[in-house]
Amino acid sequence: MTTAIHTELDADGILLLTIDVPGQSMNVITPEVQADLAAAIERLKTDDAVKGAVLTSGKASGFMAGADLKGMGALFGSGAALPEGKSKMAALFDGVFSLNRLLRDLETCGKPVAAAVNGLALGGGLEFVLACHYRVIADNPKITLGLPEIMVGLFPGAGGTQRLPRLMGIQPALMYLLQGKNMSPQEALGFGVAQAVVPADQIIETAKAWVKANPNGGVQPWDSKNFKMPGGPATALNPNFAQTFVGGTAMTHVNAGDNMNAPRAILSAVYEGAQVPMDLAIRIESKYFAKVVADPQAGNMIRSLFVSKQAAEKGARRPKDVAPAPTKKVAMLGAGLMGAGIAMVSAQAGIEVVLLDTSIEAAEKGKAYTADRLAKKKTPADKAQAILDRIKPTTDYADLAGCDLVIEAVFETREIKAGVTKQTEAVLGPDVIFGSNTSTLPITGLAEAWSKPENFIGIHFFSPVERMPLVEIIVGKKTGPAAIAKALDYVAQIRKTPIVVNDSRGFYTSRCFGTYVQEGLALLGEGTVPALIENVGKQMGMPVGPLAVNDEVGLDLSYKVAQQTKKDLGDAYKGGPGETVIEKMNELSRFGRKNAKGFYVYPEGGKKYLWPELVQTVAGGLAEDQPSAAEVKERLLYRQLVECARCFAEGVLETPQDGDLGAIFGWGFAPFTGGPFSHMDTVGIANVVATLDRLAQRHGERFAPPQLLRDMAARGDSFYAMAAKQAA
């Protein structure tokens, strides 16, 4: 085994423990780290020549980043045989408790141990620090300290939920634990999480000086008889304690809904753990941690929100044999809301932008969008100016000369798009890559306007561009690898998360998200209580209810898209069950937020509320038999799932990772599921098929499962198992 913690005993008997995990740019907790720490603890306990220790990092990149999430797969549903006489949960507990126990051994070794923190300490990294008796941090405001595990559905499982409250008080600790918020060295000092903040080159000598001066310092405050919990005693009869948990639980419940495991586990671990001594407290923490880990939720979240996301951003879908093709100057056609946003993120990434529109006023307005947003973000004037200087508004196609990427975001009709495409080619020639930001029109058709369709691709942004993290790359029938590589390199430049899909009406995201809205309309058309539709939509983890989101998009737009699709498809067109609702709303000129009346009423200066006459108007009144909340949820969820599965079956999607990332980051599909494909795998494909069959029988063919799902169910297969086989 290689050495992960180097030891060096100085003349004062202070053992310097330097964590330096070989082969990693950043320290993470590996089995070697744990073994070396265990050995060091044994030496502290038994070697009289050792008076104390200082724990530090040998990496310039920081102190330690905690557990290696990619390496945590073993914890999640590992197929390893259980030790005899142990339940699955008991074995899991043993596994997750070992690190907790180890850090407890460190703080009870009997000798003073100081942490000298040179850089970031996150998650398990900070938990190592918290288990030391004295903590000195380098004086650098950029250093982040925190327990961000909640962001991927986990929680600190190495004493973090117990030591942080005992250091800073329960209420502030809950805030950091539940929000995954980071703190700076100065904040840590203020909260008693750090005892000193000194220049970086003095951390080790400061730590050593403390160890030397405090031979009896090897006792944590919470192990002393006189320990007082900051903020008052952790007992039910302390009103502060009671209020913290009544309020904290309610706020967490409101924010996380009924869906997330980790926040409630954190609350319970802190509530129960704070009331008992540390040895028991860390066992309670590990029990809740084991419960969270045993559920597929954390594994699904880690895979999509962390592993797949990073892989996508690092070019998982990029053709390997195409040379890097960074964009230097982009031709932005159309300076409307989307064009202006794309211009902004491009300029922010250091890319020159030629922002073209039909009038100079429109082009200038597009540039002003960036100025406005930068001012709102309080960007320093010189920095803002440098960004703005990169955007050149124009009406003249000749100004496009020199651009190495085109992005088109003009009005959504084929004729207008074809016109600007041809005018652009006249200046730049067909070898430049042309990306269309269409959200509805098939790419293969649009590519006909560009002489070399292999250089034509879809680059679909979401609104507002500067805030939405996803870009959907659409590969047309003739799109070539150079276009894909160019588009992905550009997405990497503007630091967004890409997915790659094949051409289809609505592509992947718009098509599947649309089903959520349509099912909401169907329910409404049947006379369902509108509040029930909206509340259930939000409660199942969608960012907004289906009716509210349709109001935002515009009911007139929904109507026009339906008409265009009807025209395009002719006899093949199948109208959705909510279509009459949209038609009725359009007849009444209720277009949504844009004219302050849609499914909701938008009083000036007040909060929107559901139009009281809605059900009467579109459904002739409330249905006598109302669906339960569970039935509404099932329809809103499975209508999306089946469409996602169809996209996979039809080849629109090539990987479940694209499907999950696109759903979560494109339309806000319940992130706690890890995405629709993770969710279907977790539910079990056979169960998904059974539910879809039942729903199809009751509500129509739109729920009918594709043959792919039936075949998978028959094989006992899952989407990610298939993906793993394909990758192997």
Binding site: P239, A242, V246, G247, G248, A250, R264, L267, A531, L532
Partner: protein
């Protein structure tokens, strides 16, 4: 089964449950002691015949802790053979105590038993005893815990009671209570509270605001809007349980909710032989008793269900009941009960209720039982049903019948 009869019913006046309330200087053990002494002195019974004293108390900690019923027995100089037990069924504790006392008589466990309750809300604030229900994150999550004011506003929203409706109800409660006091309708039961030198500190209900009108009520800000809509945002939790509701209409405030007050009550229940022994005339028979559980988040719709259950136990319908008494925890609770059971306003809470006079949590149930019994006697009517809504979705009820 032995019949259980009510032989006497007393209550203290209710003092404002604040530091400037008249009863703030009186300890809760004194409140309980004085009602027990009153029962003994008014009936002339030998307390050795009282087998048990059951007292409701909702915050049984601090000076209300450690079985205040037994300690009150000792402090009131009852026979030391009399037992005492403190019970907690939240807001219905006083009625539950009476039901338990009656059950002891019915089963033959007791010859005489006293049911009642005590709460000094000014000295032991509500919530002093903690609660796994509200505080333990796993439990609060599971039960969709929200304070009962949110449930009261949810009832108003769900069953269509406007701010105007609840305020109008509150105004009527004040008017009825004022009339009842003016006409001396409570005098049979009221035991003035005395201080350590024997002087009366309070002889009438202190919380009432007789001049209350719609305008004065209309000026009060909703009490639960901030915790519902802002921090910590309990409305969203309510909507998880009731997703068919778009938005909670916050209509309740201090003027249309029960008042926070101090007070105590006691009801002497015994079998027929005890009445004969002391020459006491039974005032009423306990005809049926019940408690139920229902959905805990909305919390306060239990009265409707317990009313149905207790009527069924009695073999009666609501038309067999002359007078209804439902604790006025919140105006919407009473309005919903009237709506659900189709009860006219002139047959329920005819002498006002807790909105006007206050709700000393542990004591109220026995107080309103005494109040409705006095009213049956005053008007020559025969039957009454008493109900209270109870925390965590429960309900408790009792039907009495004059003999």
């Amino acid at each position: 089964m032995t019949e259980a009869y009510i032989y006497d019913a007393v209550r203290t006046p209710r003092g404002k449950g604040k530091k400037d309330g008249k009863l703030h200087e009186i300890t809760p053990i004194q409140l309980a002691t004085q009602v027990l002494q009153a029962v003994r002195d008014r009936t002339g019974i030998d307390t050795a015949d009282v087998d048990d004293v059951v007292l409701g108390c909702v915050s049984p900690v601090g000076e209300q802790g450690s079985d205040i019923a037994r300690v009150a027995v000792l402090n009131a100089d009852y026979a030391e053979t009399t037992a005492g037990v403190q019970i907690n069924r939240f807001c219905a504790s006083g009625l539950e105590a009476t039901n338990m006392a009656a059950a002891k008589v019915m089963t033959g466990e007791a010859m005489f038993a006293i049911g009642g309750g005590v709460e000094s809300m000014s000295r032991v604030p509500m919530g002093s005893d903690g609660a796994a229900w509200a505080m333990d994150p796993a439990v609060a999550y599971k039960t969709y815990f929200a304070p009962q004011g949110i449930g009261a506003d949810l009832i108003a929203t769900k069953y269509g009671f406007s701010r105007n409706d609840v305020d109008a109800y509150a105004m009527e409660s004040q008017a009825r209570a004022a009339r009842a006091w003016a006409e001396g309708r409570f005098k049979k039961s009221i035991v003035p509270v005395k201080d350590v030198i024997g002087e009366v500190v309070l002889a009438h209900d202190e919380h009432m605001r007789p001049g209350t009108d719609m305008q004065s009520l209309g000026s009060l800000a909703p009490a639960f809007q901030a915790i519902g809509e802002a921090m910590p945002g309990f409305d969203a939790i309510a909507l998880m349980r009731y997703p068919e509701v778009e938005k909670i209409n916050h209509v309740h405030h201090g003027g249309n909710s029960s008042g926070i007050v101090d007070g105590a009550s006691a009801i002497l229940i015994g079998n027929k032989e005890m009445g004969e022994k002391y020459g006491l005339k039974p005032r009423a028979r306990i005809r049926a008793m019940a408690s139920i559980g229902s959905e805990p988040m909305i919390m306060l719709t239990g009265p409707e269900f317990v009313a149905q259950k207790v009527l069924q136990r009695a073999g009666m319908t609501k038309d067999d009941i002359d007078l209804f008494e439902l604790n006025e925890a919140f105006a919407s609770v009473v309005l919903r009960y009237m709506q659900a059971l189709n009860i006219p306003h002139d047959r329920i809470n005819v002498n006002g209720g807790a909105i006007a006079m206050g709700h000393p949590l542990g004591a109220t149930g026995a107080m309103i039982l005494g109040t409705v019994l006095d009213e049956l006697e005053r008007t020559g009517k025969g039957t009454a049903m008493v109900n209270l809504c109870v925390g965590a979705g429960m309900g408790t009820g009792t039907i009495i019948e004059r003999v």
